[in-house]
Symmetry: C2
Subunit: 418 residues, 2 copies
Amino acid sequence: MKSYLPPLGPKADKDTVRRHNLSLVLRAVRDEGESAEATRAGVSARVGLTRAAVSSLVEQLLDSGFLTESGKTFSGQAGRPGTALKVARTGPAGLGVEINIDYVSVCVVDLAATGRVRQTEHLDNRGAPPGEVLGRAAGIAARALDSAREQGLHPVGAALALPGLVSGGAVRQAPNLGWNQVPAEELFARALTGLWPGASPLPVRSENEANLAALAELWFGGLDAVRSFLYLTGEIGVGGALVLDGELLRGAHGFAGEIGHVVVDPDGPECRCGSRGCLEQYAGQTALLRAAGVEESGGGAAGVMELERRARAGDARSVAAVAEAGRMLGRVLSGAVNLFDPDAVVLGGIYRCLMPWLSPPVDAELTGRVVSGLWSPDGGRLRASSVAGDAARGAAALVVQDVLADPVAYARPEPTDA
Amino acid sequence: MKSYLPPLGPKADKDTVRRHNLSLVLRAVRDEGESAEATRAGVSARVGLTRAAVSSLVEQLLDSGFLTESGKTFSGQAGRPGTALKVARTGPAGLGVEINIDYVSVCVVDLAATGRVRQTEHLDNRGAPPGEVLGRAAGIAARALDSAREQGLHPVGAALALPGLVSGGAVRQAPNLGWNQVPAEELFARALTGLWPGASPLPVRSENEANLAALAELWFGGLDAVRSFLYLTGEIGVGGALVLDGELLRGAHGFAGEIGHVVVDPDGPECRCGSRGCLEQYAGQTALLRAAGVEESGGGAAGVMELERRARAGDARSVAAVAEAGRMLGRVLSGAVNLFDPDAVVLGGIYRCLMPWLSPPVDAELTGRVVSGLWSPDGGRLRASSVAGDAARGAAALVVQDVLADPVAYARPEPTDA
């Protein structure tokens, strides 16, 4: 018999407890600071540790540059006034780099996940050698990092958002970029180190772009209490991500969420993935514009704006094309909802602006096909994504989340010069 | 901006640390006992706590009846001989109760998750009032609990495995039983308390039957290193479960895994769920036997045996019916694999004995439709479930897992009489 027990965790010793509590206090200051001024007393009440323990932890966080404190505060706490604590605006920072088909967007966030630097360049990345694309991205990133340093930020890591199957630091396949087996992290890190030499090279990680957009939607969007959702982003491809109880579901190899390649019609048109009749062939940007009779000249974005304009004007062919895409989306989504049971389905990318015509057929399919009447059309569970859901910021925030989870691992032994 | 931080966990204080470490030591004895005799020295080495700390924790576990020790052992440890520690065979136990369409199966396991009592009765539960079915199940359970007590076991909880949508202690819907909004936990607990009065009523939980069969497959089956898989069980309905990294994926409302209601053909035959063309209508037992021309007289099991016999004899209609079901299964599974990216797909229930004719078309669909050639036909990722994957044992083991995770919560203040 195989052991059915979960693997043994690390032992809980004094050092582990202190590191855990440092993270608790740092996050409590961050959360407390949302609504009021954070004080040692307030943090103590929030996390349930003694005032003395909190004071000691706060000292360490101040010394390491994770927190700052300002003058006296009288914000409702009994007893003598405390000083107001804040997450440092000049402390550790995360770099996010989104490489997409026709643009590169770079974002630096501070410990509060506030965007501090943003650089976006429109580039046609299709067909360019991957090393060249990543080199250009590193150039944009280096400029953003310089700006961040000027603001007193100390970047501790970078995350790449890539439109394809990403695992083990490489892009296994990104059909719309024409990439195959590209060691993206390594190529980017090498280019960045050349352009932006630091004390030590910036650690680089990578992740699927839809996954990071979904995380940004979760963290910074308008989802309120929703913690489990399916995220779809309509682009040239149809990207997807699954968030369950506030965590990204990556799958066994990191390839989960490929909803664009769920089959709609087994004998349908050939897909770039090698299969036939995938959702992408019915609800992707190219298929949608073709069905609507909109020329995709001037780039996809212009085509989608034209489609929206025509639908708004009541053009029958445009409305019918969007409705048909909605039926196909709804059919695939009903299966996904039966499998995953999320709180909500969030539609992003080109679907955002098409919601008035897209959501009724999607909702109708979901209502008819989700088991046992668990989906009702006016339940508010089908939503458009917010503008906040952008992959570059999600990537940058991912880096910073690691810092908050274990600040000790990111404490600088001594201040570095700016 | 919404906080993007995970919720604050409990503070790590001395009491929490000790409870955590008691669980560590208990589980280490359990794991160590798999291959060799467990000693205090061996446990100390395994979990990384000092000998003195381990001795103190072991004393508490011995006093509370979670562990037993026997004579001297010389099992390869340096220094003076220790005594051999074992997880108690007379300690806390879990009760699992599977209520299915045509049988009730009850299982009691000890702390090592070894089955110690099993009672199965074939009953036609279709159409009987839910209270009556649960009352009968409680009667069978009471007899099993008596046997367990005679073996010195102390049942600490029960789990029900139910073939339907289960949440909040109730069966929301179990179409094949004809149940709607049945407060199963309450009805079972009340019936059991009447039949088996204890010092305090046994806590009862409930779970979807396919979910528990999948957990049993994970814990006791032949999956080796596989920690993420899709589990399908073919019965009158087609049940499903998703296990990710060793954890059951329950979804936002507990209804995840309803793969039987993923649509195959939007205009296909009506399904009991209210939709059309669900997988169940193509690959469920009834559809399969009908397509093969096998009369379902004498119960479904007899029909499936007859189908297997005919397929083995080369009957063309039977082989074609199974192959067609396999294509539909494979089509739906390819979408599920694209969404979920599991290590393996495990087929149970009636599919187990039909694998020779079922697996080639399933594998062919997966190979053709899973993105970017991530599925290869001979990768060993499509498997038949093992006999160990039974829902009653999974349910009982679930109860016991709680004990192992926090033994203090289940410690008896004083020994009770048997």
